[in-house]
Symmetry: C2
Subunit: 328 residues, 2 copies
Amino acid sequence: MKGLFIKILLSLLLFTNVSVAADPLPSWNDTAPKKAIVAFVEQVTREDSPDFVPVAKRIATFDNDGTLWAEQPIYFQFLFAIDRVKALAALHPEWNTQEPFASLLKGDMKSALAGGEHAMLEIVMSTHAGMTTQAFEKIVTDWITTARHPKTGRLFTEMVYQPMLELLAYLRANGFKTFIVSGGGIEFMRPWTEEVYGIPPEQVIGSSVMTKYEVRDGKPVIARLPELNFIDDKAGKPVGINQHIGRHPIMAFGNSDGDFEMLEWTTAGTGLRFGLLVHHTDEKREWAYDRESHIGRLDRGLDEGPRRGWTIVNMKDDWQVVFPFEKP
Amino acid sequence: MKGLFIKILLSLLLFTNVSVAADPLPSWNDTAPKKAIVAFVEQVTREDSPDFVPVAKRIATFDNDGTLWAEQPIYFQFLFAIDRVKALAALHPEWNTQEPFASLLKGDMKSALAGGEHAMLEIVMSTHAGMTTQAFEKIVTDWITTARHPKTGRLFTEMVYQPMLELLAYLRANGFKTFIVSGGGIEFMRPWTEEVYGIPPEQVIGSSVMTKYEVRDGKPVIARLPELNFIDDKAGKPVGINQHIGRHPIMAFGNSDGDFEMLEWTTAGTGLRFGLLVHHTDEKREWAYDRESHIGRLDRGLDEGPRRGWTIVNMKDDWQVVFPFEKP
């Protein structure tokens, strides 16, 4: 009896949602990707569907850089790292001669980035240590609420993709739990993902430094150590998903070859699965880059994705709006 | 308008819960611990309370061994490990002379356990590797649905504490997200915690081995490697909580000194906090052990817990029912 009552209430809730927002994805053009997303969600949520998936198993994972927010001219966390190097330079005179700090301080990005993505991640991680998690959270929050994108002058949290915000909300309204699975630092993202994406800290997976629990003058803290713990990129993404979620996602969203294994792992599971790659093709409203880019390189995914049944979003054609600030 | 409608529906739902189950904790005697739990939950959930905590921040963490299910005569996962050693012995003739396998196979538990808890955990972890996560999940599921407790003859999933099952449900009904934070293996628990405790895999934190993503004959797998990744015990528990949840719990439940730091970390946060230790004092219905026990040793917590404002459950006096199978 109580079960029935709850069912009726939930149906009313669902009905209310539907009537209020007829099109849950208004910033998506009515092209193939939107149709594929909606068709998939209907197939896994309709109780009489052969592909029905119970709510507990509706797990969707999203890359962050280039998938939920922009990543040009360089990963935003790296801009944060540069600002940290500048802020701390007075305390570290040795940085004037020590690479990559010397190049960063001179504004010579090219030399600082010579080591590639992995080196970049290591630089980020090692400049993010030596404080407590609480102190780091404050540093991130101060930066993210004030720092501005070098090209658009916008806050970085404004450089998020409106179609993806709608997609996150749409999936959650359909019983999905949405997770971030990013190569970015887990504690760089957590202070703001709930407010910006509606994704709580416990659903954020990322790269991390080693940490240590200590009691300092009677006050427990978690110290961030200058040692990498985990790189949540490429083949690390399925490992991070398994470690944090413990089950297969049924949908995965990315934009670069760093997401290939996440999509491969997700779409290899039994039952209906969905993989999507955002192809950055819009040099007017955003950026256009793929196979040759040092940031968010998309090469293998472009070749193999379609063969594997993954949806490729052509940003230029498939997104009516890119950033929220474009909306009329 | 829609917000109001949802609020009314949620109030109706809440009211239904209340009217159906007037006492959400019937297996708890009406002693101090129950009163403290109910008073705390009311203080953090009443919107007009100065200690009100929004739903997103209602995080409660539970140790597993000795807190949610029994742990005598030895951690159940260790009984699983012994069964695994026996099952695999034919493939490992070297185990007949190699410790701790030789002692285990001879049934000499004392020698096998000579290395203490940390060694035990290492033994468990290293005997749990060399297969995919999928294969391991099947091995665990096969065992947990058939193996029996050496003393009671019950399935291990029947050796859970009825008062704690009620507590988990009570907290969730009050908007809490419940997590397991256990020294036990994360992938040993995940296959059954959702059914037994209502805790989904993504809310289970535990010890782990290293894993590796591979594509074998075109099929992606995650391989379990014979190398420890993380020990989620003692000072590791706050680290695990930070890694997986990314924010402070407001309630923590344990039973041994392995939970001390989790309770310390939880109750050190700002705002109203709650820590509870289960003291095993009932040799008739369960077991009685504390300061001198090799399993679930509780010494520092007994001394410092009350001074720190933690609630100590005296199992004999505070629990009307221990195991679900006792219920009339």
